[in-house]
């Protein structure tokens, strides 16, 4: 008897690749600005004022995070789902995981959006 395919559709697979390519750019930028090139001896520790100063430096940071956050959340949760799907879980568990990840994903994006709106 043929076994059910681990992944049901081509679309999530392709989206994982596309978001991955975008994330390679977004994450290098994000890490450089907020983690790696944050010189503690010059700028001091990270504070609300410092983050606000960085994010309001250009309008484009709003566009940047509007694209970055949903992409990183999708990539992370879809990635975990792909690992779970590889173990060929039953239909019931599959539904439960999918529902859980959709709720978690929406909550994360909404929380991140409210957080960012406070900092912009």
């Amino acid at each position: 008897m043929p076994q059910k395919a681990a992944s049901q559709s081509l679309v999530p697979w392709l989206l994982q690749r596309i978001t991955g390519l975008f994330l390679a750019f977004f994450l290098v930028t994000h890490l450089n600005v907020h983690h790696l090139f944050h010189d503690i001896t010059v700028e001091g520790i990270i504070s609300f004022a410092l983050v606000q100063e960085r994010l309001t430096a250009s309008f484009w940071w709003q566009v940047y995070y509007f694209l970055f956050v949903p992409m990183v959340v999708y990539h992370a949760l879809n990635g975990i789902w792909e690992i779970i799907a590889d173990f060929r879980v039953s239909t019931g568990w599959s539904f439960l995981f999918k529902a859980m990840f959709w709720i978690l994903g929406i909550v994360l994006i909404v929380v991140a959006a409210i957080t960012l709106s406070n900092l912009f």
Binding site: R17, G20, L21, L23, A24, L27, V28, L31, H35, L36, F37, D39, I40, T41, E43, G44, I45, I46, S47, F48, A49, L50, V51, E53, V72, V73, A76, L77, G79, I80, I83, F87, R88, L104, L108, V111, A112, I114, T115, N118, L119
Partner: protein
Amino acid sequence: MKFSEKLKGTAQDVNLNRNIGNFSFWLHRLTGIGLSIYLVMHIFVLSSAIGGPESFDKRMGQVQNPFFAVLEVLLIAGVFLHMLNGLRITITDFFAWSRGHKTLFWIITVIFIAVMILTLVLQWPKFFMENYTGGGN
């Protein structure tokens, strides 16, 4: 089949196929799981900004010290391992270059080492408590 048996089968599969492809496959999954957990924590910690500057500065003060600076190096290592290996997978897939996947693995290893040396240089001041006295601007 029980989930524990599936996990056992996975472990046997890893043990039987000790090669670069399988190693990077599991490295990708493990870093992916780690980074996903970090993403949730990251959004949670930063969400203190919803409560205003005081609550954000208080929360951020708790996660800025040499201990977290070392953890941050691990985070950056995870990000770049996952990113470089992800690019390797994408190049191998989209350009039908599976013959070169092992060569690509060694290329990304060299890039990874270079990135980590730069990371250590840039992170160095954060490993010392005396540099945390400044309250920012």
